[in-house]
Subunit: 548 residues, 2 copies
């Protein structure tokens, strides 16, 4: 009976129809190999949600009954249609549906819970927030607490001091007011000081734009530099799909460069040059280069020499360097350190007048993992005043980012210091999280490398492993029969057998003919052994089923 129900669930959930293919003008995807393109007959339609989004009760899905509605797939912006975002795509929707079913049908599945390893969302998996940060936020939210004597018993003295300091930096102490479009000046001062301390080079608070997480900052820069599909962005493959999504939404062309799996996801300048020249020969003006360091989904930390070469390359080729540095606190190996690209640019003697460089940072990552707060900033350097004016105007159209997120962005760049009341407990929390993440990364990496046909580079940083799976030909054929990318086929099977949610490599891009998935290292330590066991058992049974 149980097997029958699983079979049914699989059938209902895994089976799906391909999304309508739309006539599209020349797409950035044409620059990518077929295995990356979602227009390829092999590839999975990564977002196909309609069956899992409850629609209003009286709405019928048939086109007849909704024929009087004005908006159709044929009339909407084709860039929206084209955009894909795998980390919240089809597999996650299947998982949400399974989770819902689990509540009433506990015995129908061979697992008790869904474990979301699809997204870097640490607190959703039980990581606790850093207490000092939350104390300051609560005091700023409800500042009349600062006038109460009981508050001194409930909050650390440095959180009280910090809250006062922050409130004094906010005009009128009004935490409920729109701020300056770039964010509260005093908080930007704190962030700039944090960057200076990190890099050993000056940082200007007027270069900081506080944003609701890093995503809106990336969108803003893409919107600025992309005018048409003739404008390209050099982007790593594999990449975090925010980049492909925002390039698509803003109508530009993604120009891929490949990270080399064999050398631990290294970046070859010769490959960058080749891709740049190829794009130029197709009439594409490449505007910027995206680098993600530490890497997402690949988890590598770039070598210092490599970073210098990238800076020189951007300088020589006249490219904006868009540096995704949101994992700057997430390093797990003693032989690697985080260095910002700005530090290398300045140490090579490139100043404001020499090259354009944007660094993205977020409160969602690091050891704090405050994803729900939507805080972040970009440091924008090396743009002429007239172009900067345009960036300022874009920020102004959305008024400002949320003030709690702004405050938190200042806190992560200026945490408690030795001697502060919170310092000892803060360090215990911080180091506990980071050392546990390192341990979890290692355990999962080893487990993956023990699986037949699986190889996995070490996670030097970030929050992910990106193992490569050699899929048997029979599995590839079975996937094709289901009109699914082979790695998506594997991930769906994994989900249905274990409740573990990972994202197929095809959502990030990969060398044609190779297959991967991205798995976060974020489940709490006590869950890891069970995950390893379930993964190992699943993989064996999958291989037994499909081995050539």
């Amino acid at each position: 009976m149980r097997r029958f129900l699983i079979g049914q669930a699989r059938k209902g959930l895994v089976d799906h129809t391909t999304r309508r293919q739309h006539h599209q003008t020349r797409s950035f995807l044409s620059l990518l190999p077929p295995s990356f393109s979602t227009n390829s007959p092999r590839a999975a339609p990564l977002v196909s949600l309609s069956r899992f989004m409850s629609s209003t009760s009286d709405m019928a899905a048939s086109s007849d009954s909704t024929s009087s509605l004005p908006v159709t797939l044929d009339s909407i912006n084709p860039k929206v249609l084209k955009c894909e975002y795998a980390v919240r795509g089809e597999i996650v929707n299947i998982a949400q549906k399974l989770q819902e079913d689990l509540k009433s049908n506990k015995d129908a599945y061979p697992f008790d819970e869904i474990i979301y390893c699809n997204i870097g969302n640490p607190q959703s998996l039980g990581q606790l927030p850093i207490r000092f940060f939350r104390e300051v936020l609560a005091l700023c939210d409800h500042s009349s607490l600062l006038d109460e004597t009981e508050t001194h018993g409930l909050f650390s003295t440095d959180s009280i001091d910090r809250a006062w300091k922050i409130l004094d930096q906010i005009p009128g102490r009004a935490t409920g007011a729109y701020s300056h479009s770039q964010g509260i000046k005093g908080l930007r001062d704190t962030i700039a000081a944090g960057i200076e301390a990190r890099d050993g080079f000056p940082a200007d608070p007027n270069d900081i734009f506080l944003t609701d997480g890093a995503s809106p900052a990336v969108h803003m820069m893409m919107q600025l530099v992309l005018s048409s599909e003739k404008d390209g962005i050099l982007c790593p493959i594999p990449q975090y799909p925010l980049y492909s999504a925002s390039i698509t939404l803003h109508g530009g062309s993604l120009v891929p460069y490949y990270l080399d799996e064999a050398t631990g996801w290294g970046l070859e300048i010769s490959d960058l040059k080749k891709q740049l020249e190829e794009a130029r020969s197709k009439g594409i003006t490449v505007r910027a280069l995206v680098v993600i360091n530490p890497g997402n989904p690949t988890g590598q930390v770039l070598a210092e020499e490599n970073q210098r070469d990238i800076v020189n390359f951007c300088k020589q080729e006249g490219l904006v360097l868009l540096a995704d540095e949101v994992y700057q606190e997430n390093l797990y190996v003693p032989d690697k350190k985080f260095h910002s690209f700005k530090k290398f640019a300045r140490s090579l003697g490139y100043g404001e007048k020499d090259m354009s460089l944007v660094s993205f940072q977020s409160v969602s990552k690091g050891y704090y993992g405050e994803c729900g707060k939507r805080g972040g900033y970009m440091e924008v350097t090396g743009f002429t005043p007239d172009v900067r004016e345009q960036i300022y105007k874009m920020a102004s159209v959305n008024l400002c980012s949320n003030i709690s997120g702004q405050i938190l962005a200042s806190l992560v760049m200026s945490p408690p210091k030795p001697g502060d009341d919170s310092y000892d407990s803060y360090m215990v929390e911080r180091d506990g999280i980071l050392s546990s993440m390192a341990k979890r990364a290692k355990t999962l990496e080893e487990a993956l490398n023990n699986l037949e046909g699986v190889t996995c580079n070490r996670a030097e940083g970030a929050m992910y492993l990106f193992p490569r799976i050699s899929l048997p030909q029979k599995a590839i054929e079975a996937a094709e029969a289901e009109k699914t990318a082979p790695d998506a086929f594997y991930c769906k099977r994994l989900l249905n057998a274990t409740g573990v949610v990972v994202v197929p490599g095809s959502g990030f891009g990969q060398v044609p003919g190779t297959w991967h998935f991205r798995c976060t290292i974020l489940p709490q330590e006590d869950k890891i052994p069970a995950i390893v066991d379930r993964l190992t058992a699943f993989h064996k049974s999958f291989m037994d089923e499909f081995r050539d």
Copy 2:
């Protein structure tokens, strides 16, 4: 001496150069009369910030010294260049500079402080947040407070109960986790219940998309329906410039319809039809109609019959009705009530299958005015499942809106009820703010109507007055000599003489040859008499200087 300094300040601050004119492809502005277009030689360059944005010290502004930088005004996205956003435009930047100067040069100006009446930002002008809302936010931010006995002395019992209820609605009680892309389901349930109670018609939590304020929601809908300049949006003139800005950024055409000042900013269906037909005759497919009710910048509340006509018009013409209803709590006259467009659509018998309707709401407005929290939602009804899937995907690319803003959006739709511990004090706060706003609106409206050549419709709702000023020909000529729109010329003179910041009507659009400004009703009551005095004295002296 003082006069000399004022003269200097004026010269340095008011004088400016026009922004570089760029070759632009056919623009939505071509549909607008010259007085609205910022490309017109008459019009003010509304955003010209470079002189007021400190740039990094070693960056020189000359093109020579920055010639090696890759990004120039000629290479960036022309839609960004074209976009204007007056409420944070040039006048505000002059004001910020004056405010900075005031600190060291107190005697240089005939005023002690800058009073920002340019933007609906109540807490920046001294309005206090609603205590219950902030108590709940603080408890959710730092939930371990809920385990402490002292908390019961510091917080109301209903804020504690509400915080528990909300935490229980958040998976794993993780307020620091990314939520569902549409927002936390339990909070959407609360909001849907609030909409049902307001309208008397069902609301579905799956139709709610929580957003960081209303602005990103507006952008999302514009991005969905606009593919090219052949797609148009019917938009009121005067309008809130978020609409013109987002239509420009997403490459569509703004199709203006005029609100009739003579009938209290009424909306004539015959004018809507005329504009729609004219746009269609130019080959533009009009996709949606924007209505702002209560009106911004115009402050009117639409008549019920008018709302029904608008609903019928959208239904008949196949337009998406984009209803900006963010001022739904801000009504100041006993003869008008707020009714949502959805309520009228449903009462006319139009359901999910009949018409597409989006309602925008924000925590920034109302009596709460929590602008800095960036909370809001859109209720999306009447879209086919496949189109809804695309909206969901767009929301997913930015992961989710900030959780504090989400919580606040649920609170404003479900405030304390009779019998709750906070109820009495909450009602005192709420009614105090709303009745004071009504009083301030009345006082300012009367003062404006007492000025020579000024007429001002009553503020029935929202947070603004939009007086019309008959400028003497000499003033218009003086403005032309300064290459400034006449109303911008007036507003800059007003700022320099009084420290009061208002926004020229040309930033919102107006009938050609008429001049207005938008002034919020938000300065605290004790400031109003001084504002009236300064405004009256300035206006008299301005008219004396320029009277024909």
